[in-house]
C-alpha cells in the first residue's frame, strides 16, 4: 500500500479529569475511505478536532504528508490540504450558496495564486458535484437541513483537500438523501483524496468504507474491514455492553 497521507501516533487529550483520547494511532492512505465508529463519548469528535487543529494533543504526533502539523492552527492545516465538515452544520447564513463555497475555494487554496474568479468557477463545479447548482444564488439560511449537509461537503471539497474529515454528513438526512450522499462520498476517493468519516448510520458507513476503525473509551478497539468488524465480538460488546449479535445483524442489514 502507498505511504500514509495522514498518520497519528499515540495521540492523547484530556479535559480536566476526563481522558478523551488515550493514545490513538491510526493511518489513512490516499484514495482510502476510512470509517470511524464507536459509541457516544468514545472520543471520535475530539479526535477530529485534534486532527483539524481545533484542539492540540497533550501528547503524540499528527503527521500529514510526512510533516508534523501538531502545532499548526486550523486555517493553516486547511491550506495544506486537510479539510473538514462540522457535525452541526455551520453555514455562512448571510452569504449565498455560491459565496459559501467560493470562500473555501479561495482561502483553502491561498498558496496556489487562485483569483476570486477562479474560485467562483471552481465553486460552481463543486456545487454541480454535490447537486446544489440549482440553489447557487440562494442564501444559505434558506437551505434545508439536508442541503446544509451538502453545503458543508461542498465547501470542504472546494478547498481541494487531499484529506477530508467528514463529521456525520449522513446522520439526520432523509432516506432519499442518504442514498445520494453515499453515492457522492463513494465517488470521491477515485480523485485520490483520503477520507476519514465519523458516522452513526451503520448501514451507510459499513457499505462504503474500505476499513473501519472502532473507538472505545478514547482508544482504538479494532481496525478491520467492515465485514470483519461486524462480526468482531469485542466490538459488539462495546456497543451493547454484552455479547450478542444484534449489532452485527443491524450492521449487515
Amino acid at each position: 500500500m502507498a505511504a500514509a497521507i495522514l498518520e497519528t501516533r499515540e495521540v492523547s487529550k484530556r479535559f480536566g479529569g476526563i481522558k478523551a483520547l488515550a493514545g490513538v494511532t491510526l493511518s489513512l492512505h490516499p484514495g482510502e475511505l476510512l470509517g470511524l465508529i464507536g459509541p457516544n463519548g468514545a472520543g471520535k469528535s475530539t479526535f477530529f478536532n485534534v486532527v483539524a487543529g481545533v484542539y492540540r494533543a497533550d501528547s503524540g504526533t499528527v503527521r500529514f504528508r510526512d510533516r508534523d502539523i501538531g502545532s499548526l492552527p486550523p486555517h493553516a492545516r486547511c491550506q495544506l490540504g486537510l479539510a473538514r465538515t462540522f457535525q452541526l452544520t455551520k453555514p455562512f447564513f448571510s452569504l449565498s450558496v455560491l459565496e459559501n463555497v467560493t470562500l473555501g475555494a479561495y482561502y483553502g487554496r491561498k498558496g496556489d495564486g487562485v483569483t476570486l474568479a477562479d474560485a467562483r468557477a471552481a465553486a460552481d463545479e463543486v456545487l454541480h458535484v454535490v447537486g446544489l447548482s440549482a440553489k447557487r444564488d440562494h442564501l444559505a439560511s434558506t437551505l434545508t437541513a439536508g442541503e446544509r449537509k451538502r453545503l458543508e461537503l461542498a465547501r470542504a471539497l472546494a478547498t481541494k483537500p487531499s484529506v477530508l474529515l467528514l463529521d456525520e454528513v449522513i446522520a439526520g438526512l432523509s432516506s432519499g438523501e442518504v442514498g445520494s450522499m453515499m453515492e457522492i462520498i463513494r465517488s470521491l476517493p477515485s480523485t485520490g483524496v483520503g477520507i476519514l468519516m465519523v458516522e452513526h448510520v451503520m448501514r451507510a458507513v459499513m457499505a462504503i468504507s474500505d476499513r473501519i476503525v472502532v473507538f472505545h473509551q478514547g482508544r482504538v478497539l479494532a481496525t478491520d474491514t467492515p465485514a470483519a468488524i461486524a462480526n468482531d465480538p469485542e466490538v459488539v460488546s462495546a456497543y451493547l455492553g454484552s455479547s450478542g449479535s444484534a449489532a452485527a445483524r443491524s450492521a449487515s442489514a
Binding site: A52, V54, P73, P74, H75, A76, C78, Q79, A83, R84, F86, K90, P91, F92, F93, S94, L95, E99, T102, L103, G104, Y106, Y107, G108, R109, K110, L116, A119, L139, R155, A156, T159
Partner: protein
C-alpha cells in the same frame, strides 16, 4: 461597476450643494453629516461586516483629534501631516486593543473590552492636565493651513469655511472608495464569513486573527483621520466632546437606522440623524424627546435599516 457610478454621481451632487445656496449654517451641517458618515462607515466595517461589536470607537476618533491638535499646538506640526499621524496613532491603538479581543468570541465581551479602552483614554486625557488642560479643554487649535491648488487658486480655510466641507468630502469619498473595494474583495468575503461562523471560516483556510487585525486597524485609522479633521475644524477639544459614550451611541444609531452591514447604510443614517438633530433645534427642550421617539419608531418599523427596506433584504 454601475453601482459605483451611482455613488460617484451622488458625491458630485453633494459637492455642488454649496454652489446653490452657500448659507454657512447649511454647509456646516453638511460638513458634520459627511464627518459622521465616514465615522459610522468605519465602525460598520468592524461591527457590521466583521461582526466584532466594538463599543469603543470614540477612542480612535478622540485619539486622532488629540494627537493632531497637540502636535500642531506643541510641536508646530502642520495639520495636514496631523491628519496622517492622527490616523496612524489611532490605527496603532486599534491594533493594540484588537490583540486582546482576538480570543473573545462573544460580542458582549468585545463591546466591554473596547468600551473599557475608550474610557481609559478619556480618563487619561482628563487627568493629563499639564498636556491637555483636562476638562478645561484645548482651545486655539490651529486651523487647516491654506493650500494652493492649480485650478481653484488658493483655498484658505478660515473659521469653519467652505474648504472644510470640500476637505471632508474628499476624505469621505476616499474612505468609501477603500471600503467599496474591500467589501467586494476576497477579504470582504472573509469578513462576512467570520461574522457568520468563525469556526467554519477558520476550517476553510481563513486566518481569522489576521482578518480581524486588518479590519480593526483600518477602521481605527479612518476614525483617527476624521477625529483629526474634527479637531482642526471645531478648534476646541474636551475629553467629553470626543471620547465619551454619547458619540458611540450616535454612531450606533446612525448605522442601525441606515442598515448595519450595508455599504451605504451608515451614510444614509448619518445624514438622517444629523439633519434631524440640527433641524429639530426649533423644538427647544422637546428636541431630544422627539428625537428619541423617532429613533424607536424607525427601528421598530425597519429593524434591518432604511437601506434594506428600500433595496431589499439581501443588499450588503
Amino acid at each position: 461597476m454601475r453601482e459605483a457610478h451611482v455613488y460617484l454621481g451622488v458625491a458630485i451632487l453633494v459637492a455642488l450643494v454649496p454652489l446653490v445656496g452657500p448659507d454657512p449654517y447649511t454647509v456646516h451641517v453638511l460638513t458634520l453629516c459627511l464627518l459622521y458618515a465616514a465615522l459610522s462607515s468605519s465602525w460598520n466595517l468592524v461591527s457590521g461586516y466583521a461582526g466584532l461589536f466594538s463599543f469603543g470607537h470614540q477612542a480612535f476618533f478622540g485619539l486622532g483629534a488629540y494627537v493632531s491638535a497637540l502636535l500642531a499646538m506643541k510641536a508646530g506640526v502642520a495639520p495636514w501631516l496631523g491628519l496622517v499621524i492622527g490616523g496612524g496613532a489611532a490605527g496603532a491603538a486599534g491594533l493594540l486593543i484588537a490583540l486582546p479581543c482576538l480570543g473573545l468570541r462573544a460580542p458582549p465581551y468585545v463591546a466591554i473590552a473596547t468600551l473599557g479602552f475608550a474610557e481609559i483614554c478619556r480618563f487619561i486625557t482628563m487627568n493629563l492636565v499639564g498636556l491637555t488642560r483636562g476638562e478645561l479643554g484645548l482651545g486655539g487649535i490651529p486651523e487647516m493651513p491654506a493650500v494652493h491648488l492649480p485650478l481653484f487658486g488658493t483655498l484658505s480655510f478660515g473659521a469653519r469655511g467652505l474648504p472644510y466641507f470640500y476637505l471632508i468630502l474628499v476624505i469621505y469619498v476616499g474612505v468609501m472608495a477603500v471600503l467599496y473595494r474591500l467589501v467586494r474583495s476576497p477579504l470582504g468575503l472573509a469578513l462576512k464569513a467570520v461574522r457568520d461562523s468563525q469556526d467554519a471560516a477558520e476550517s476553510l483556510g481563513v486566518n481569522v486573527k489576521r482578518t480581524k487585525l486588518i479590519v480593526f486597524g483600518l477602521s481605527s485609522v479612518i476614525a483617527g483621520v476624521t477625529g483629526a479633521f474634527y479637531a482642526h475644524y471645531v478648534l476646541i477639544l474636551t475629553p467629553s466632546s470626543v471620547f465619551s459614550v454619547p458619540i458611540m451611541v450616535e454612531i450606533v444609531a446612525m448605522t442601525l437606522i441606515g442598515g448595519l452591514g450595508t455599504f451605504v447604510g451608515p451614510s444614509v443614517g448619518a445624514f438622517a440623524v444629523t439633519l434631524l438633530l440640527e433641524y429639530l433645534r426649533v423644538l427647544g427642550d422637546y428636541r431630544l424627546l422627539i428625537y428619541g421617539t423617532l429613533l424607536i419608531v424607525l427601528i421598530l418599523l425597519m429593524p434591518a435599516g432604511v437601506v434594506r427596506r428600500i433595496l431589499g433584504q439581501r443588499v450588503s
